[in-house]
């Protein structure tokens, strides 16, 4: 390794990538494949593929039925545990402790994190959906915030590239709002879901229930799915890490490929505090790092820096990189850095029993479910009066526990081992508009234990989101009814911003340096040798799970950087 020495040459790389999660892994792989000596800095501990201590544990192997004790939750996860489903024994070791690294909030913000090599690529839900021009054009058409500087045609080839490498299951449907991609065979709908698909389609022409598009290898091709990967075994334990390499993570996929080139150096336990501004050369010189364990302060230098510390992590680093030239944070001449924070919101939807299909079951634990893509405001016929944009649903139909109402004793036991009725659940994921007033900033009067100013959030759902939620609940009920479901129960409890774990938008892309931080290549308007390709770059939030878009934009930005270097511009 080259960092352990005194001379400046020895700590100089071609490119520094900050963060090892989904976007950092992707950037690093593309950079290494192009021959760039790359240093990946990760604030969390080291982790290797295969180190998944809970991967084969069943409920009875856990201390508390896979639920973390109340005492531990109160002591260490007091913020993240507000998101009730998140802190579980199966991946507790992959969740950042709030007691180690806390934040402040004006209104509740759920910042859901994991700091280790691989970042949240280990625990993610793996749903991958393309954006369409309906998303890229929305801001401009509606006069909301600023226009995206790219359109679908700019990103489409990069989706092709990322999807092929990642391996995404899915079914082509030809929808304008959800372009088809390079799909592996889908995990097919079960018969209850197929029935839902057909009955919804009959009654509601724009609503379509399709198998989820998911980064699990339903079909493994070692020539394409490089890294330490293999066929998905349908165990649905992906959030714990998969010993089979059955799904895409930095650990199973991008990092091993980057390492194979010999161009990658990973330095875990390296908390990037700031990007160093070189006044003379008028560009970024490198990064200042504090070792998480030893407390040692170090500097690393590079020609180009890729910020992939996740939306919040990257924005905090940039806001903390203050100089005469950039008193409010690196590349922040627009004043937009930290603003326009978005996510998706959920906590609204419905579930119901679906009578019938008693003789038919399923086999295996499918690591995914179904998706109903957005069907509001996608054309004239679907235009809504009450709100802009739309929402999609994620859900599944599974057989529930067969415990007839109030049954006990022998009657209960005679039933309990048989599969219960099908229960369909669908949860709505809605778009959040980019509001300048939804923001994060650093409190320079209060430092954390590593000497970094504490992050403060102030973001909330507003009128458009609330109107959209109502519609989402109504439509869920309608669709369950159309399929002949019984015992329909619906819910609508607004989640905090952040709870969908799709936080984005705090260093947005745009045409104009006065109103945006990045140009159409994810390159800082103000500082051309700094690229941001995590969720901070997003100009609107869409309704789709965003990570595949970060990967596509990362690959695209690396390609552009490479051309700029070859042209002698960078």
């Amino acid at each position: 390794m080259r960092f352990n020495s005194n001379g400046k040459d020895e700590v100089t790389y071609d490119v520094i990538v900050i963060g090892s999660g989904i976007s950092g892994g992707y950037s690093a792989m593309e950079l290494c494949n192009k021959g760039y000596k790359t240093l990946m800095l990760e604030r969390g501990r080291d982790m290797k593929h295969g180190e998944y201590p809970t991967a084969n544990m069943d409920t009875w192997d856990f201390k508390n039925q896979n639920i973390v004790s109340a005492e531990e939750k109160a002591q260490h996860y007091f913020k993240q545990n507000r998101l009730s489903w998140w802190v579980r024994e199966e991946h507790q070791h992959l969740i950042n402790k709030d007691s180690d690294y806390d934040y402040d909030e004006v209104s509740r913000f759920d910042w859901i994190r994991g700091h280790h090599v691989g970042g949240r690529s280990i625990m993610w839900g793996r749903r991958c959906y393309r954006w369409s021009d309906i998303d890229f054009e929305a801001n401009a058409k509606e006069g909301i915030a600023i226009d995206w500087p790219i359109r679908y045609k700019d990103i489409a080839p990069w989706y092709d590239r990322a999807e092929t490498f990642v391996g995404i299951t899915g079914q082509a449907e030809g929808l304008p709002q959800l372009p088809d991609g390079k799909f592996l065979p889908p995990f097919p709908l079960n018969c209850a879901e197929q029935h839902m698909r057909e009955s919804i389609n009959k009654k509601y022409p724009y609503r379509l229930l399709t198998p989820s598009r998911t980064a699990n290898l339903s079909s493994y091709d070692p020539k394409v799915h490089l890294g330490t990967r293999g066929q998905c075994q349908s165990r649905n334990r992906c959030v714990r890490g998969c010993p089979y390499g059955g799904y895409f993570s930095s650990l199973s996929s991008t990092i091993p490929v980057a390492q194979e080139t010999g161009n990658l150096t990973i330095r875990p336990d390296s908390i990037v505090h700031e990007i160093i501004w070189d006044k003379e050369k008028g560009k970024a010189a490198g990064v200042r790092v504090k070792d998480r364990v030893s407390g040692e302060e170090l500097e690393f230098y590079a020609r180009v820096i890729f910020c992939n510390a996740s939306t919040i992590g990257t924005t905090a680093i940039l806001l903390n990189s203050r100089s005469e030239a950039f008193p409010d944070g690196l590349g922040n001449s627009s004043g937009e850095l930290g603003h326009n924070i978005m996510d998706h919101h959920y906590g609204m939807g419905a579930s119901a029993d679906l009578p019938g299909f008693e003789d038919i079951y399923y086999k295996g634990r499918r690591p995914t479910g179904f998706y109903i893509p957005r069907f509001r405001n996608i054309n004239k016929e679907t235009q809504m009066k009450d709100f802009l944009r739309g929402y999609g649903y994620q859900g599944n139909a599974t057989r529930s526990v067969n415990a007839p109402d109030n049954a006990i004793g022998v009657e209960l036991k005679e039933n309990l081992f048989a599969p219960g009725p099908y229960r369909v659940s669908m949860t709505c994921f809605g778009e959040i508009l980019p509001y300048h007033d939804n923001k994060m900033w650093l409190n320079f009067d209060k430092n954390d234990k590593h000497g970094l100013p504490v992050i403060t959030f102030d973001a909330k759902l507003r009128e458009n989101e609330m109107a959209l939620r109502k519609d989402g609940v109504t439509c869920a009920e309608e669709m369950l009814e159309a399929a002949g479901c019984k015992n329909i129960t619906s819910y609508n409890t607004a989640t905090a911003v952040g709870a969908c774990i799709h936080e984005m938008g705090t260093a947005r892309m745009g045409h104009d340096p006065k109103t945006s931080v990045l140009n159409k290549w994810n390159q800082m308007h103000d500082v051309p040798n700094v690229f941001v390709t995590d969720g901070a770059c997003m100009t609107s939030s869409g309704t789709q799970n965003p990570s595949i878009t970060y990967m596509a934009l990362s690959a695209r930005a690396v390609d552009y950087m490479d051309k700029q270097i070859n042209d002698g511009v960078l």
Binding site: G50, N56, Q65, G364, R365, K413, F417, P419
Partner: protein, 187 residues
């Protein structure tokens, strides 16, 4: 598949001799003795309350051709989970109805009845519609839900009485129930 078979199988499909961390992830379940549910010291209930819990658990899940609730430690799991996982608020919400239920059952002379009468009394309680007795019903319902959940997630029940397939390998969307011996999936 038992754990040894899982290890063999994993080695086969990953096409490699297993690395140490991979192996340890597979072995971890073997080492983990589940002591919590069988431990005899009570963490939440007092002896008297625990006797009530035990009686009711075994009325909800009596011994038939499969073990009763208490035979697989469901009563101790309830005690353990209340003590460990429930926060103060959840404990409060549990305690009131539980106590109300216990008092109410005592007034019905429940504890001196034979098993079949006791089962009938509990069935009656679950069917109560009077709002004045809703807390009593809630207390019993919680106990019933806990019993069912911890029974089905018990190793012996899950692996011997349900379909247990740790590494399914396939996803088949529509399989006849008859091919699965009419049994639900354990996990």
């Amino acid at each position: 598949m038992n754990r040894r078979e899982i290890i063999k199988y994993t080695a086969l499909v990953t096409g490699a001799s297993l690395s140490a961390p991979l192996l340890s992830s597979l072995l971890v379940g073997c080492k983990n003795e589940v002591t919590t549910a069988s431990s005899s010291t009570l963490k939440y209930f007092n002896d008297k309350e625990f006797e009530i819990v035990t009686t009711i658990v075994d009325l909800i899940l009596p011994n038939t051709d499969s073990p009763s609730g208490s035979e697989v430690g469901v009563h101790h799991m309830i005690d353990h989970m209340l003590a460990t996982v429930y926060d103060d608020d959840e404990k409060n919400k549990y305690d009131g109805p539980f106590q109300n239920m216990a008092v109410h059952l005592a007034t019905l002379d429940f504890f001196n009845q034979n098993e079949s009468n006791q089962t009938n009394i509990l069935s009656d309680v679950l069917a109560y519609e009077e709002s004045g007795l809703s807390d009593v019903k809630k207390g019993l319902n919680s106990l019933r839900q806990q019993s069912i959940a911890y029974y089905l997630s018990n190793e012996e029940i899950a692996t011997k009485f349900l379909n247990y397939l740790p590494v399914p390998q396939v996803w088949e969307p529509c399989t006849p129930v008859s091919e699965l011996e009419g049994k639900a999936w354990a996990i």
